[in-house]
């Protein structure tokens, strides 16, 4: 992993920020605090892994608005909404927009830290998937058209002879292409190749 995960805390109340920072640091995570959503956006870089602890009600831009803006980025970090207001409609909207949870202030340390850890694991998993996907796409783009046709046949479970007949080439030629595909895709075995292809075929997990 290139970066260590960071928990970004956005709340307009300095004491709340400081207290949450102290709590989160106590489980060994890095914390960065922002006094306003704008402040956070100005410093946000999508490649930094972690999660967001976001107050719903703040002057200027609300937590919900920030959540909507972040939706425009490719790698939105998981968001935990916190609110002193505790209004059901706001919570519903936050969850619908993809927040992983909604906590009503004040909350127990365990509740917050559990959510934070879940969020970070989720983010890490997403980033891993994302990375793998990008890598596979990169490998796939290096295949020649003919190699992609052979790969298609292999994925469909056809034996070399059938593929050769379809492509109107010799079985030997198919075997050579197939070896190139395995090599370029860095697949150790046929079953490994099948898994890589299935990852490529699922829509981007961004």
């Amino acid at each position: 992993m290139k970066h260590k995960s960071t928990v970004f805390v956005v709340d307009d109340e300095p004491d709340v920020r400081a207290a949450l920072a102290m709590l989160i640091k106590s489980i060994g995570l890095d914390v960065e605090c922002y006094a306003s959503p704008q402040d956070f956006l100005d410093n946000y870089r999508a490649e930094r892994p972690g999660c967001l602890v976001l107050d719903v009600r703040m002057p200027g831009m609300s937590g919900l608005e920030l959540q909507e803006r972040l939706g425009a980025f490719e790698d939105t970090p998981p968001i935990i909404m916190i609110s002193g207001h505790g209004e059901i409609p706001t919570a519903v909207r936050a969850i619908q927009n993809g927040a992983i949870d909604f906590l009503q202030k004040p909350f127990s340390d365990q509740a917050l830290l559990d959510r934070v850890q879940q969020a970070i694991m989720l983010d890490a998993a997403r980033r891993r998937d994302q990375q793998e996907y990008r890598e596979l796409r990169r490998r796939y783009t290096r295949l020649t058209p003919r190699e992609r046709e052979v790969l298609q046949g292999v994925v469909e479970g056809k034996i070399n002879k059938v593929i050769a007949a379809q492509l109107k080439v010799s079985t030997r030629t198919v075997e050579i292409h197939r070896a190139r595909v395995m090599e370029k895709m860095q697949a150790a075995s046929l079953s490994n190749l099948m898994r890589l292809i299935s990852v490529l075929n699922t829509p981007s997990p961004h």
Binding site: V16, A19, M22, I27, G84, K105, P106, F107, S108, D109
Partner: protein, 541 residues
């Protein structure tokens, strides 16, 4: 008869003696007896068969009635008759004595037998108005020399005085009777108090209410039956009677046979001659019903104010919960973070660990209390009913009416009628109207402008909506305050909570409407809208 005839002779010859004689025999008589004595004496004095005295019954006179009638040596029944066609007519209408010496029967027919001669003398009151007459009839001619005219004038004057006295007496009696009837039969209570406030006379209505013996009303102080809380005011009213204009009003509760009643008294000091203390006449009326109605109105007002306070509390609790939860979050999180830190550091003593645990537990408890409180006040059930906005507003205006009057604020209305009904929680909507008018009244009181008007307008608004607006002639809203008036706890008033408009807006929004301050060139205008009920079947409005 003979002896009387003898005296007649002398009387006829000597009017002064006649006068003296008659005066002596009638002077002790008054009223009916006087007239009888006079008529008899005169008949004898001038030696005529018949004499009578009348009084007029109407004005101008057309009919008279006899007060004493002497004929053939005795008194006969009185009668009333119309003047037309009688010799009396001339006497009364012209106001002069009239003599028909002979041949009366040829000119007049008398129902009490024919007569030969007639002499009539009018009776005047102090203003020379004819109020009756004396008449003499005989069967033989009546020579003029038998009549001492001057003497008759004097008797007529005396009779006139007597007649007038009688009339005044009658009028007095009649008015006394009228007064007695009034006092005895009216439902108002009448009491007469001495200067010390003792009841010295009470009419039946009062006696009945205060259950005194009908015939022997026990003397008691007026204040006795009065409710303790109202005594000071009553005594104060009695006290003001010492000074001009010597009248006072008071209302108090009094314990009567029918329980506690509200009585309204109008008191007058009856001024006596110098040196004597005044008596007091009080006229009291049972106003219990009116007071109850007022009480009900006041209670309505209180209920509304209570509802306003309750929802103010709800709004406050919610805003408060948010405000307090912020520091609680810091406290809880800080203490929990410390606990985590110290969990791994052995040198921290147990007391500190315990303290931190307690801080966290108490912060948690405080937050639970607030959550509970908020849940509690938020749970006010919202009832929905079909209502007419004009009616709701009229009810609120009724409640505020006394205050508006007292503050000399003119409330005008421009109502569209009929308005389609709305489905609302009537109390809540009334509360909104109440708050808006209240704010306007407060704005007008801040401002010493001459014109103090609040205008309420209702009508259809955009499609499917009604609007009610409250516009006042107060100082209006500055752009700066206008931005914040709907924020909870924003107030420019010394004792304002700043919650009124915030509540109004949340109520209107929960009804699917909108509340706004509409910018004005003068004064402030607040308007809310409400969706109209779907009109049966048509769906669209």
């Amino acid at each position: 008869m003979n002896t009387e005839t003898a005296s007649d002779e002398s009387a006829r010859l000597n009017p002064e003696r006649l006068l003296y004689h008659i005066a002596a025999t009638t002077s002790l008589e008054t009223g009916g007896e006087f007239f009888r004595a006079l008529i008899r004496q005169l008949a004898l004095a001038i030696n005529v068969r018949c004499s009578f005295i009348t009084e007029c019954l109407d004005d101008p006179p057309s009919e008279v009635r006899t007060l004493a009638y002497w004929d053939h040596g005795e008194f006969v029944d009185n009668l009333r008759y119309e003047l037309a066609g009688t010799p009396c007519e001339q006497v009364i209408q012209e106001g002069h004595a009239s003599l028909i010496s002979e041949k009366l029967g040829e000119r007049y027919a008398c129902e009490r037998g024919v007569a030969e001669s007639y002499f009539g003398v009018p009776i005047h009151d102090a203003n020379r108005k004819v109020i009756g007459h004396m008449a003499f009839l005989d069967d033989k001619p009546l020579p003029d020399d038998r009549l001492a005219h001057a003497a008759f004038d004097i008797f007529a004057a005396r009779a006139g005085a007597e007649l007038q006295r009688r009339r005044i007496e009658d009028a007095l009696k009649a008015s006394e009777e009228k007064y007695r009837l009034l006092v005895e039969h009216q439902t108002d209570m009448v009491v007469q108090l001495d200067a010390a406030g003792q009841v010295i006379f009470a009419n039946p209505a009062y006696r009945e209410s205060f259950a005194n013996e009908r015939d022997a009303p026990a003397r008691h102080a007026f204040i006795d039956g009065v409710h303790l809380d109202d005594r000071a005011a009553t005594l104060g009213a009695l006290d003001t009677l010492r000074h001009p204009p010597y009248t006072a009003r008071c209302e108090h509760r009094a314990r009567t046979r029918h329980g506690w009643l509200w009585l309204a008294w109008s008191l007058t000091a009856v001024r006596q001659a110098a040196g004597r203390s005044a008596e007091i006449i009080g006229v009291g009326r049972d106003v219990t019903e009116r007071r109850r109605a007022e009480e009900r109105t006041r209670q309505n007002l209180q209920e509304l104010a209570h509802a306003a306070r309750l929802s103010a509390m709800g709004e406050m609790a919610s805003a408060l919960a948010h405000e307090v939860n912020q520091p609680l979050t810091s406290i809880l999180s800080f203490s929990q973070a410390c606990q985590r830190h110290f969990a791994i550091e052995e040198h921290v003593n147990d007391e500190v660990r315990h303290a931190l645990a307690r801080i966290a537990a108490n912060a948690q408890r405080a937050s639970d209390i607030i959550r509970h409180l908020r849940g509690f006040v938020r749970k006010t059930p919202l009832t929905r009913a079909t209502a007419d906005i004009n009616r709701l507003s009229a009810a609120v205006i009724d409640l505020l009416e006394p205050e508006l009057r007292q503050q000399r604020i003119a409330l005008r209305q421009k109502l569209e009628t009929p308005l389609p009904p709305v489905t609302v929680d009537p109390t809540q909507i009334q509360q909104v109207i109440f708050n808006l008018i209240r704010n306007s009244m407060e704005a007008l009181n801040d401002d010493a402008t001459a014109e103090r008007v609040i205008l309420i307008t209702t009508g259809r608004h955009a499609a499917g909506q009604l609007a009610l607006a409250v516009h006042d002639t107060g100082p209006g809203l500055s752009p700066h305050t206008a931005e914040r008036i709907f924020d909870p706890f924003f107030s420019t008033k010394q004792d304002g909570l700043g919650i009124g408009l915030a509540i109004c807006r949340s109520i209107i929004e929960s009804h699917g409407g909108q509340l706004d301050a509409v910018p004005q060139s003068s004064g402030a205008l607040f308007r809310f809208t409400l969706p109209v009920m779907e009109e049966g079947g048509r769906g669209e409005t």
